[in-house]
């Protein structure tokens, strides 16, 4: 294969493909840091080009969206298939239908264009979102990945090596945000809605539990917190004979809920950094976009002499640029996928 001789230097162009959940995304990244294009198929530009909203969830929609997304990514980057040094694709964890579409498309494009292929773990991609904007980052690191489907606290002693310190025992942090927002009558996704509403609320107004605070663990649990919020809403509605809840009460509840989630996330993450004697913390995933989490984590880090990094908003949620970036570093380490690369819905780091 011609591509085998390609050197992954700082000009190397990598096409990333990400279809593990609801977004169909393709991106071109130069040298693991310069984003040439980052097309996310639930975004407006693609809707405009291909007419109509690209629906979520169904893998069939990934099928429809993947080739236009790749074409658009190459076009926006001004790059031809022949100029690519490699193709990186998410092969897990995620929804099997979506992953299969991405992996199949990546294999077909790589085979047709004689371009090397590498498989990327979705969580690893989220971590590398930080390297796109901070290429100077160096291991060892502590990484908190928080999204609708994941709440993982990782120790990264060296590039490509991961030790899972803790994870959620029930609901993911982002899932708790979404479900609480739903019951409060806010829109989807719930994270940004609660973030906004919480600004007008008192975070100490409603007393809510901090799960596992008695245990020596880096695990998380948000189910009890979610239930406590729901119980509170039920009680308040009952006392108002099912009438609407006042805006101040909702703002106080949003602020109190958000504070409870953020307190646990930042306390455990900083504690993990101290225990592992690591001076750098990175955050990733959709919940890393939460303004209070960014503020609290940075503040707690500063008090302990720990630097805290998080990606810009668009790179917090699912996107292919982070996959291209992680793929670039995998290629540099000599990693290559074979044509038998398959989707692995339960892939671990």
């Amino acid at each position: 294969m011609k591509g085998m001789s390609v050197l992954f230097d700082e000009d190397a162009l990598v096409l990333g493909i990400e279809t593990s959940c609801d977004e169909t995304s393709a991106a071109v990244v130069r040298g693991g840091k310069t984003i040439m294009s980052n097309v996310i198929a639930s975004q407006v530009d693609l809707h405009a080009k291909y007419g109509g909203v690209v629906p979520e969830v169904a893998s069939r929609k990934h099928v429809e969206a993947i080739i236009p997304a790749v074409d658009t990514a190459l076009h926006q980057a001004g790059v031809s298939l022949a100029e690519l040094a490699g193709i990186a694709v998410t092969y897990g964890p995620g929804l099997v239908g979506g992953l299969l579409v991405g992996v199949s498309a990546a294999k077909a494009i790589a085979f047709g264009g004689q371009v090397p292929l590498v498989g990327v773990n979705h969580i690893e991609g989220h971590i590398y979102a930080n390297f796109l904007e901070h290429p100077e980052l160096k291991a060892p690191l502590i990484c908190l990945t928080v999204s609708g489907g994941h709440t993982d606290l990782l120790y990264i002693p060296a590039f490509g090596a991961y030790e899972l310190l803790g994870r959620t025992r029930d609901d993911a942090a982002g899932e708790a945000f979404d479900k609480v927002a739903r019951v409060m009558g806010l829109g989807y996704p719930g994270g940004p809605q609660i973030d906004r509403l919480a600004r007008d609320g008192n975070p100490r107004a409603v007393e809510l539990p901090r799960a596992l605070s008695q245990e020596e663990t880096f695990d998380f649990s948000f189910s009890g917190l979610k239930t406590a919020v729901l119980n509170y809403i039920h009680r308040e509605r009952q006392s108002r004979k099912d009438g609407p809840l006042p805006e101040e009460l909702l703002a106080d509840l949003a602020a109190s809920f958000q504070a409870a989630v953020v307190e646990v996330l930042s306390a455990r993450t900083i504690e993990a950094a101290k225990e592992k004697r690591v001076r750098t913390v990175v955050m990733s995933g959709g919940v890393a976009a939460n303004s209070l989490l960014r503020q609290e984590m940075s503040g707690a880090g500063a008090r302990e002499g720990i630097a805290v990094y998080y990606p810009s908003l668009v790179l917090c949620t699912d996107n292919a640029a982070m996959i291209a970036c992680a793929g670039y570093y995998r290629f540099r380490r000599g990693d290559r996928a074979s044509w038998s690369l398959n989707a692995e819905p339960d892939l671990r780091l």
Binding site: G148, R182, D346
Partner: protein, 164 residues
């Protein structure tokens, strides 16, 4: 038989009822869970998993839609919460799990639509009004296999009543 109703005071008791059910389950059993957000469906499922001898954490399937575990039988844990459009069900390949070699537990089972099997165990979760804050769990059998299953749990439900 109309079914069995039990009251669980807290999450631990919800898990305990799930565990009791899980111990009695056989390959091919389908358990459909109904109830509002936060009413105990995932917690109950964690109990079923424990009763099936699944080791390791059983986490919410909301994001992944379906999760597969191995206990003394395969444990398929599905959640249709995110599927508001029934057409999206077609891409999930649910038949493989519903008519599979394990136990199929599905949250937000009202969204199964045409995939709902004829025979299954219906489990309904309801908030108890303040100040109890517990959950009422109703086990309603559909079909002979599930009438037998509920019959086995009926004794335990009576014992729990007497303890109160």
């Amino acid at each position: 038989m109309a079914g069995v109703q039990v009251v669980a005071g807290d999450a631990r008791e919800v898990i305990e009822w799930g565990r009791r059910l899980g111990k009695e389950l056989e390959a091919g059993d389908v358990i459909c869970l109904f109830g509002e957000l936060g009413s105990g469906k995932t917690t109950f499922s964690q109990g079923i998993a424990a009763g099936l001898g699944v080791a390791g954490p059983v986490t919410s399937p909301t994001f992944a839609l379906i999760k597969v575990y191995q206990g003394r039988l395969p444990f398929y844990h599905a959640d249709l919460y995110r599927l508001e459009d029934p057409a999206q069900l077609e891409d999930l390949g649910l038949e493989e799990f519903i008519y599979g070699d394990g136990v199929f537990v599905v949250e937000w089972a009202g969204r199964l639509g045409k995939y709902a099997p004829v025979d299954f165990l219906e489990v309904r979760f309801e908030y108890l009004p303040d100040p109890q804050n517990g959950r009422q769990i109703a086990l309603l059998p559909h079909g002979r296999r599930y009438r037998e299953l509920v019959g086995k749990l009926e004794g335990e439900a009576r014992d729990a009543d007497h303890r109160d």
